[in-house]
Point group: C2
Chain length 416, copies 2
């Protein structure tokens, strides 16, 4: 089974919007074992959209299209599909009712132009919207098919998972269940991580077609992801295979793993703090609020996160955190800051960062010279040296996840 | 003149990387008056890349291609271009010397596989790399042309500006100068802004072909951008037209404008503070470090930014900032926080935020109920109510730029 992705929208051709839908669909197709050899973007032009669909159907079994399903005159994906399928547009009562219901639920008046969204190619199946107002469409073209979804990323992603992927897999005659899991890591680069995982690559290669596959995905501040994908006869078997492989990888990777699937570093830390009834305070220098911003991004963070100080000016480090006069880019300064913020905010756990983000050196230290210190109850406060490189932005971002990871490691080590 | 954009890379087809190059090139083509009707992504497959080039040249005058220029076996853009141009690959001494020089400068050993980067289609012009190791190529195909650039975004963008856009415009026979300027605004939505600018749309419509064009570009936390583009016989005339139109827009928009081109809100504030020799301290609650992170992102921020407190736990607001016991989501609490942070950190200017980011209500207030307060020397401290909506993330982000903008407005009002 091969599917081609088509993004429709003049705003994309003009570079006014970045198309994130195509990459999302591509990733989901790959995870579902569906090939994709071409991705195309075309503007709001009937002849060009129709030509693009025809070409796509000449080289693939299915087209997955996003955009151009709205109510305005430049939303012409419906017309293009009808032309390619060789059928007329028909006002579809189900589609009209869906659009009317969305307006009624929001207490808004529906203008007649919105009825355009009820005109669909004859023979099409409606995909009811759950998040937006535009219905999706499944349009048969002979033995082939065009799926059309709205361009709004959340609306598209929801329809893709709920309807399109399973319909595609049903058409492909593939009744196996495909499941995947992401193992999230920090602490090693992609190649060192791959080396560590070599025994599993070797084992899986000889384990037959139902063994999971392993793929790496570097994701900047979100760490390096290891995606496991498995195909099995039923969901329970797939889940068991993922569980077994995750256990194998965790044995190899140990504390490099900080979470699975959507679990972020800051959520992992929140869990550890909650489980130990500890409260965290921050003293940030070169990370300048980035660590706080990530922690506050988690709903419910107030249960374990007190707050912190952005001690950007050295005077604040001296005055509020007790750092002695002199250079402030050192392990000693970081340790004093971590202890100082615990006292100041009445927290049991302190995380402090100090360092040179650049572009200029500070206190004779080159950009990238950075320290993180962690204060924990009943343990000596310790600092780790972070040797970072790159732009000011990159040093601050990699410093942020590295400092959070240092805290996570120390919390793991500490007896609960 | 019409150009088609082709992105090469199996990692893009698998959704492992998000292609940002295409949108960047598209935007620059539009700004240079070059049409683009199709954008295509294809994997590392010789026949498919060559077919994609042939199709693109059948409907456009030029192809701009990114990716597949590296040294490994799956980098086959060079081979595909040679095939389409009907010429052999030749080892090019200039290209070899460029690649060797890059390795020598980095003190790294060059493996023989890197010599592949010196094999280019006969008749191609080399684009020397300035930021990376891979040379770009200009490959003539009869009267048409394929430009190939590396896939690394910064390397690509640099070559695009330095060589590709001007070469395209030269080929198009268009010797006019195209220049553009971005006017950056905050405070009104896109439609209200467009309404305010209506007199300029009307005036420009009747001003002839050398008048600037105006386009809007909503950019989230970076504000709403107004892009002016002008085409003139020479650079001085273009610049004068941009200056004149910017002046007209500034008259209409007044303090809604916070900067031009790459100038961010935080840079605009930095300039105002520096010009008035003032120092800023922050007390952030629901924005939780986001404001600090943006200010610290500017190199040299230490000249005007002291630091701040992330007063996430209400106890910190009470204890360190002097907020009286009771509800903390109010204009009064914000004002006390702004005054408190000035005293605590010895700053002349204080910016404080308090509010409900959600998803749950707090102190009986619904998510989105937020306040920002600004303390300035010799003025009463004032708070503004921000009524925000959306997800927790959106409330925090829009709250951040709104609070910064409130500070900017107050600094503008204050006599220097």
């Amino acid at each position: 089974m091969r599917a081609e992705i088509v993004a429709v929208g003049t705003e994309l051709l003009l570079g006014q919007n970045l198309d994130t839908n195509t990459a999302h669909i591509a990733e989901r197709l790959a995870a579902n074992g569906i090939d994709c050899t071409h991705q195309v973007c075309v503007g709001d032009n009937l002849a060009r959209i129709a030509d693009t669909f025809r070409l796509a159907l000449a080289r693939s079994d299915a087209v997955i299209c996003t955009g151009g399903l709205g109510p305005t005159q430049d939303d012409i994906t419906r017309e293009a599909m009808a032309e390619v399928a060789g059928v007329p547009l028909e006002r579809n009562p189900e589609a009209v009712a869906l659009v009317e219901a969305v307006f009624a639920a929001r207490g808004r008046h529906m203008s007649p132009s919105n009825l355009r969204q009820g005109d669909v190619p004859k023979g099409a199946t409606i995909i009811p919207p759950r998040l937006g107002t535009a219905p999706g469409l499944i349009v048969p073209v002979g033995e082939q098919v065009i799926y059309a979804m709205p361009g709004v990323p959340e609306e598209m992603a929801e329809m893709l998972e709920r309807v399109v992927l399973s319909d595609l897999r049903r058409r492909s005659g593939d009744h196996a269940v495909i499941a995947s899991r992401v193992i999230r890591t920090w602490g090693l680069g992609e190649s060192a991580l791959a080396e560590l995982v070599t025994p599993r690559f070797d084992a899986l290669e000889h384990a037959g077609p139902s063994a999971p596959t392993i793929a790496f995905l570097a994701s900047g501040m979100e760490g390096i992801k290891i995606r496991l994908t498995v195909k099995a006869g039923d969901a329970a078997t797939a889940l068991a295979a993922l569980d077994a492989e995750e256990a194998q990888l965790r044995t190899l990777l140990g504390p490099l793993v900080f979470g699975t699937d959507e679990e972020t570093m800051e959520q992992a830390i929140g869990k550890l703090l909650l489980g130990r009834s500890l409260h965290l305070a921050l003293a940030e220098s070169f990370t300048g609020g980035l660590i706080a911003a990530r922690l506050v991004g988690v709903a419910g963070a107030s249960q374990y996160f007190c707050g912190g100080i952005v001690a950007y000016d050295s005077a604040i480090k001296h005055r509020l955190l007790g750092v002695p006069a002199g250079p402030v880019v050192s392990a000693e300064a970081a340790i004093t800051m971590a202890d100082g913020i615990c006292s100041l905010l009445g927290a049991e756990v302190g995380l402090a960062t100090t360092g040179v983000a650049g572009p200029d050196p500070q206190d004779g230290e080159v950009p990238g010279t950075c320290f993180a210190a962690i204060a924990l109850p009943d343990r000596p406060t310790e600092a780790v040296a972070l040797r970072l490189s790159g732009t000011r932005q990159r040093i601050r971002e990699i410093g942020t996840i590295s400092a959070l990871d240092a805290l996570r490691r120390r919390l793991l080590d500490a007896t609960p």
